[in-house]
Symmetry: none
Amino acid sequence: MQKKIRNAEILCVGTELLMGHTLNTNAGYIATQLSSLGIPSYRQIVIGDNPSRLLEQIKESAKSSDLVILTGGLGPTLDDLTMKTAADAAGRSLVLHQPSLDHIESHFRNLNRKMSENNKKQAMLPEGATVFPNTNGTAPGAMFSCPAATQKEPNHEAFLVLLPGPPSEMKPMFTLSLEPILKDMAPYYLKSEYVHLIGIGESAAETAIKDLIEAQDNPTIAPYASEGECMFRVTQRIDEDTDADLLTPLIEELKRRFTENIYEIGTRSLPEVVLDMLKEKKKTVSFAESCTSGMVSSFMGDIPGASSSFMGAIVAYDNQIKERLLNVSSEILETDGAVSERCAAAMAEGCRNKMQTDIAVSITGIAGPDGGTEEKPVGLVYIAISDDKSTKVISMNGRGNRMRIRRVAALNAFDLIRKSLL
Amino acid sequence: MQKKIRNAEILCVGTELLMGHTLNTNAGYIATQLSSLGIPSYRQIVIGDNPSRLLEQIKESAKSSDLVILTGGLGPTLDDLTMKTAADAAGRSLVLHQPSLDHIESHFRNLNRKMSENNKKQAMLPEGATVFPNTNGTAPGAMFSCPAATQKEPNHEAFLVLLPGPPSEMKPMFTLSLEPILKDMAPYYLKSEYVHLIGIGESAAETAIKDLIEAQDNPTIAPYASEGECMFRVTQRIDEDTDADLLTPLIEELKRRFTENIYEIGTRSLPEVVLDMLKEKKKTVSFAESCTSGMVSSFMGDIPGASSSFMGAIVAYDNQIKERLLNVSSEILETDGAVSERCAAAMAEGCRNKMQTDIAVSITGIAGPDGGTEEKPVGLVYIAISDDKSTKVISMNGRGNRMRIRRVAALNAFDLIRKSLL
């Protein structure tokens, strides 16, 4: 498969996507990956589990593009027809792929469950296909060529790639199996760096580098915003004419302009950056969470190897728990209330004492939708950090729904640790 | 516009969607609305701000469907070309729509801003179009017919509907202006129910009702799987011939076959169901989390009003915390280890004691990727529930990556509470 891919399209199969029951996050993920591989994608399509419409769409898409990436419809059930339909479009028959069957059988053995007959279907793959193992489920993926003659190009062939629908299976398969193949097939080579910022809004960040964005050619700068943080992707297009390093000077300029707001140049998340800093400084941490109710701890536990620095947390959702387990005085709770500077400070100190960690961080606030007052509106959150020297409290006024307020509060808690360790 | 609409498709325009920078929530929203209006939609397409590719796509879509709903590209800037391109496809010229211009001008007056010349473009609409006012922004929407002859139907015409891209403008326009028109054009009315199951795999669940799925006509049954649970959507098509309730008997049959595996008929998540049960039985709950490190508590805190039953949690990531805060004996930790039946039981009991709740649930396991042994492999999780009568421990062998193992463990913890309250 050494042919260059000029363009790609993404075809997501599933009635649940078509009906709007499941949000299509796969298309965006794949588009982003293709873009950083240097493969332009011009179209995304969602279509239901209907074999005749799917067949027609695969044929049409194969004529329009050099690469068609399909997701979904690889499950064991009757309406999972993508593999069969794509094989039909390519004029290939399905044959048993023994290593895939072995994998599926061992999957069920490990679960102590009986494999049902219809799971065997997932090991039936198009003749001559490159097979992608599924590290997170049963359905293997596949890649194979499909003749798709057009008037302009009577010898046109497209590559069909079939990936499973669940993002937890699709993403590792993309990274582990497909990406290495596509790297050699991109029309040119792109080199990207990711500059992650926190504590500054997207439009403020964009305004600060308006001149750079307007003047961009190569490298390019693309801003992305997500809840509570933002990111610039800077991308240099490398071909025979330009192989000098144009990224480093641009990143240096961004560092000059944003200083402390940059928490990472690379791919680590904010909790990963904080965990690495804690490890390096040999510090332990614990959390006392009220409105985030375990979210900060859970972000920590998402990271393999967190146990070297992360000891644990007390989720004090109820005020009784704040009193009993964190030793917050009833006087504070009565006078200032649970959402207050003094309560946040007492929670952090009580947590540090109870957990015996170098650092403890507390979060208490009003996540909504109810419970806000004029004085303490929904979105008001106090975050405190306590170490052997002092206790410091910050406040934030979160906007948006309950989930957003809690997530942004959790990120701000990590940022507070980061700044204290700088 | 009294013609019946047999099928629809959704065409979202915008390079930011195509590149994956913006998540496409419009397609799902419109699909859901169409579905409840009884208009089948067979395809969703995302395409960039490229007029020639867009023109080609509109023509192709108009041939395939009776209704094409476009979103995006109605803004004032140079690359907002959807209205012009759709008018071209329909062979209509753009003419000034004075009420829209008046609205745009008053919008800017209200903001105390000067209207820029290019905003006038937004009042240029296809001749003869039905115009939809924008209650939340400047760009009006439009609906008009587009000749799209096919071999089968030489007189075929499709309706093109153009809506703005920002969801805050698109949604009210859909509800206020488009829905009343589409109601009269739907071929039939659909009624759906959602049956949620846990503790049974997708293929086993489907095997158990293979006969129902194969015999389905009206109502239909569609299975969906997600991490650790699965769901059936049952849908009745209601027209003049069939207005009897066909859903209830089918749901009763599903209840007979799946009994305890069904946790919800409706739209509540498993944590929501459990919280409602706790409220109804006036029980309080707390958690002792090791490998899930706050995820169970966080799921609880996601729900507004959780505080009535959810007191708090102890995240005992480190064994010292298990000993000190949960009173797990060092003998258990040394002999059986932290991932063991006895440790899970001791954690639940210690938590219930410390938190003084009616029920306490503990989770301890090996989420990986490292830390597994032959005897205790990655994925092994113990979950214990303790109340005033007894303590019960279950084990699971989770598959997949760290995140999946932890999520499925968290769901199983909720299911254990649910079963204890049945």
